[in-house]
């Protein structure tokens, strides 16, 4: 079998590994050696599904002694089994690197013979790259669970980033789907990597500061750092019944205790048939998207996990991103004055990201910021205007400063219709996870139908909050109102609300009691107010 065929099989087998980042280490080029690394990373290509290719992501071999239920390489699966020799893989990496196809190598492996034997093959590949070719590019190596600590140590000194796959978000699920892997087997190498990195950092700090007088005890200067780009992990979402609350708390704990750089989520894709796995074909891409948004809030926006999600609502809102969700539920902190607010507060404003917040802090030293300046700095002003004042002026007028109304303005469904080849079917299946939303989804579709029937539009966009696309941002006309009634009359409370909407607009006491009931239901209160105004 020639090397291109091998590459195809082993790349195909590795494609379900999520991490393909080349970030975290800044290493300049050196004369006579090949390559360098950029702290921000560099993506060299993008697959038809929009994921980046920055590393040559392959398995050493897809031979595996384990039989994990979800894995395409499980021992009982009938696929072609091949293996790279270390020399072949190293040569291929160099050839691709020279053509600027890749930023480095991502090497993982099925377990051939034993974890130690597998790791030795990986170490040999990395040694050829680093020592013989003088390769200074990026290398991401997977630690195989059950490898002896000495080999992990050697691997870590050759690689830039190490990772151990946590596979599933709970021990119970792990026991169910990968009976041969133990929790301890996974956590032991993760702890070891953390400790080695800390030890390495300490030694280097001491050397830099020159605080030791015992020069003979200095470590050899040419020794490579241990995993300078840190460690990461990944887990599969949706194969087992864990909810978002558990998953996010787990990843927060991983960041805290094991000082990981990244936790990757991978929406479960059915690649093998097994009675322990969910049978539906739905891929929870929207859920994965929301989890990543929450993950970003923890890593770049200084959010605590308890602010993002709580036990009473264990799933993230599919209609509203977690940051906007926090903002509309904590209106007591808003609006903030952009010209004086501290950085941490700016980071909490929907529409202002880390870059925008830093630019605001920089720009306001020399001038007073108003709308045009903010737009020039690249702030998503359309979202941010509800939560900020510019020199005392509030620009979000026209919308009541209340959770329901703001929720309606900010709701931004993920463009799930574009995700996945069989997207339309999958998204419906996915939304059925969140029971209260099922009716709303139908409701949104009815709105669209009504829209198609007659093109009567009023100026106020009020129903975007519960419609699946922006195109359904329709005014409240008669057709809409009847469709609202038709779709919501199943529950007594909502039926009551729609009947109120057609009654006299002067019934204030009723309105206040209704407002408290309705606010939780995705800004329906707002829609009702608008209907009254129209009436």
């Amino acid at each position: 079998m020639n090397i291109v065929d091998k590459l195809e099989i082993l790349a195909d087998a590795a494609k379900y590994d999520v991490a393909c980042t080349s970030s975290g280490v800044d290493r300049g080029a050196r004369r006579g050696q090949l390559g360098n690394a950029l702290a921000a990373g560099c993506c060299h290509s993008f697959t038809p599904d929009g994921r980046c290719i920055s590393l040559l992501k392959v398995l050493m071999t897809n031979v595996c002694v384990y039989d994990c239920a979800y894995c395409v390489n499980r021992a009982s699966n009938d696929v072609a089994r091949v293996a790279f020799t270390p020399r072949e893989l190293a040569d291929l990496t160099i050839s691709f690197y020279r053509r600027n196809y890749i930023e480095g190598l991502f090497v993982s492996s099925g377990v051939i013979k034993s974890p130690d034997y597998t790791t030795e093959l990986m170490i040999e590949t990395l040694r050829i790259l680093r020592d013989e070719y003088g390769f200074r590019g990026y290398i991401h190596a997977k630690a195989v669970p059950g490898t002896s600590p000495e080999l992990i140590d050697r691997l870590g000194h050759l690689a830039d980033r190490m990772s151990v796959n946590l596979e599933l978000p709970s021990q119970k699920s792990l026991a169910l789907l990968c009976p041969q892997k133990r929790k301890q087997q996974l956590l032991a190498p993760m702890r070891q990597i953390r400790d080695s990195m800390a030890e390495d950092a300490d030694t280097r700090a001491l050397m830099r500061k020159n605080t030791t007088y015992y020069s003979q005890n200095r470590p050899a200067k040419c020794k490579r750092a241990f995993a300078p780009a840190g460690q990461s992990t990944q887990m599969i979402i949706g194969a087992t019944p864990e909810n978002d609350f558990q998953i996010l708390n787990l990843s927060a704990a991983l960041y805290r205790t094991l000082s990981l750089k990244r936790v990757f989520f991978s929406a479960y894709l059915p690649v093998t048939s097994d009675e322990r796995l969910p049978a539906s074909g739905a891929v929870e891409l929207d859920r994965e998207h929301r989890l990543y948004q929450a993950d970003w809030l923890m890593r770049f926006y200084k959010f605590d996990v308890s602010e993002i999600i709580d036990e009473d609502n264990p799933y993230l809102d599919p209609q509203l991103d977690p940051k906007a969700n926090w903002a509309v539920n904590h209106l007591e902190h808003f609006p903030v004055e952009v010209n004086t607010a501290p950085l941490e507060m700016l980071l909490r404003v929907p529409g202002i990201g880390p870059r925008g917040a830093r630019l605001i802090v920089k720009a306001r030293r020399t001038c007073c910021l108003h709308e045009p300046e903010l737009r020039k700095l690249g702030i998503a002003y359309k979202r941010a205007r509800f939560f900020i004042t510019c020199n005392g002026k509030y620009a979000g007028t026209g919308t009541p400063f209340a959770p329901g109304a703001l929720r309606a303005q900010l709701a931004a469904p993920i463009d799930g219709g574009k995700h996945g080849r069989r997207a339309a079917k999958q998204c419906q299946g996915q939304l059925s996870l969140f029971d209260p939303l099922e009716g709303q989804n139908q409701h949104g579709k009815r709105i669209e139908e009504a829209q198609a029937r007659d093109a009567l539009h009023n100026a106020q966009g009020t129903s975007a909050h519960d419609a699946p696309t922006n195109s359904a941002r329709a005014g409240v006309d008669d057709a809409l109102r009847t469709s609202c009634k038709a779709s919501t009359s199943s529950t007594p409370m909502t039926a009551q609300k729609t009947s109120i909407s057609s009654s006299s607009p002067r019934s204030l006491p009723e309105k206040s009691t209704l407002a408290s009931q309705a606010d939780g239901l995705f800004g329906w209160q707002h829609a009702i107010d608008k209907q009254k105004a129209c009436a």
């Binding site: 090397i3 291109v4 590459l7 195809e8 099989i9 790349a11 195909d12 590795a14 494609k15 379900y16 300049g28 080029a29 004369r31 006579g32 050696q33 090949l34 390559g35 360098n36 560099c42 993506c43 060299h44 290509s45 993008f46 697959t47 038809p48 599904d49 929009g50 994921r51 980046c52 290719i53 040559l56 992501k57 291929l92 050839s95 691709f96 020279r98 053509r99 600027n100 196809y101 894709l269 891929v283 891409l285 630019l359 920089k362 720009a363 030293r365 020399t366 001038c367 910021l369 300046e373 020039k376 700095l377 574009k418 995700h419 996945g420 080849r421 069989r422």
Partner: protein, 290 residues
């Protein structure tokens, strides 16, 4: 040619498109006590009504003086922003740079002119700087080298800004033991690295040796790798086009239809689209008999 001693009220300067030319034009504006309404590049410049045009002869010594003054006034960062902006293809680039230099060199200026990022004279320069550096990063991502006979590496590109000078340091450090050449088809500039140092050549004609023996095989290997790592259930071509715009595709071997070997397994779902997702399949069903 207009007499130099008479300052003109409505005047446009035309320079040759190089950063040196632009800095010379800025120098001449000060020397002539004029405030040009436009500083534009190329002979294609069309003057406004009642506007006279000065053609600026590029003078490296004058450009050097402007550079020194600029570094003194607003620091290295300010000069770098000017340099990057002047490599842009934007028609307004000359005027934007000129407005910024006027602002930075004013008598009461502090050194932080470049950090007044919301100021109307500075913000457009920052925007240009950012767009040029973004283009440079896109080139770092999507430039593809191929091996020619004699172990020479060659890459071609057509970027939206003249970024080859900004790329040469990066690639010559990275691939420091092999000579290579990057040819910019849009601006007709070749950056040539000979193994020790690099230089720029303005040329229309590039004669290349043949490809090395294993080049085709490597491109095909890369293409097959690319096809293998795609997950069909997550198919999302809009996202790919967002990250990897179509204008780069012509130089990417992974998007090259010639290397498409296995389209048949895909044709089950969508018969009209090949794996790269860009061309319609030419194989019409044989049912169209008359």
């Amino acid at each position: 040619m207009i007499a130099a001693e008479e300052p003109l009220a409505h005047v446009a300067y035309v320079y040759d498109g190089t950063p040196e030319g632009l800095l010379t034009a800025v120098f001449q504006a000060y020397a002539n006590h004029e405030d040009p309404e436009d500083i534009a590049q190329g002979a294609a410049f069309q003057p406004r009504l009642d506007q006279s045009v000065r053609t600026i002869e590029t003078d490296a010594a004058l450009a050097e003086r402007v550079k020194r003054g600029l570094v003194r006034a607003t620091g290295k960062a300010g000069f770098n922003a000017v340099l990057h902006a002047s490599l842009s293809d934007d028609a307004q680039a000359g005027s934007v740079v000129y407005r910024f230099i006027r602002y930075a060199m004013r008598s009461n200026a502090n050194r932080a002119a470049i950090s007044e990022i919301a100021h109307p004279a500075v913000a457009p320069l920052i925007a240009l700087d950012r767009s040029v550096m973004n283009e440079r990063h896109l080139m770092q991502q999507f430039l593809r080298f191929e091996c020619l006979k004699g172990n020479i590496w060659f890459a071609r590109c057509s970027p939206k800004a003249s970024v080859v000078p900004l790329l040469m340091d990066w690639f010559s450090a990275r691939f420091n033991d092999a000579p290579f050449m990057i040819y910019d088809e849009a601006h007709r500039i070749a950056g040539i690295y000979d193994g020790s140092g690099w230089q720029l050549v303005q040329t229309d004609i590039v004669n290349l040796p043949e490809k090395a023996g294993d080049e085709e095989m490597m491109q095909q290997a890369w293409k097959r790798f690319y096809d293998a790592v795609s997950i069909d259930a997550r198919y999302h071509p809009e996202l790919r086009r967002h990250f990897m715009p179509k204008r780069f595709w012509e130089n990417l071997p992974e998007m090259d239809e010639r290397y498409d070997t296995s389209t048949d397994d895909y044709s089950l779902n969508t018969p009209s689209r090949s794996k790269a997702g860009m061309k319609l399949s030419s194989a019409a069903p044989p049912s169209c008999q008359k």
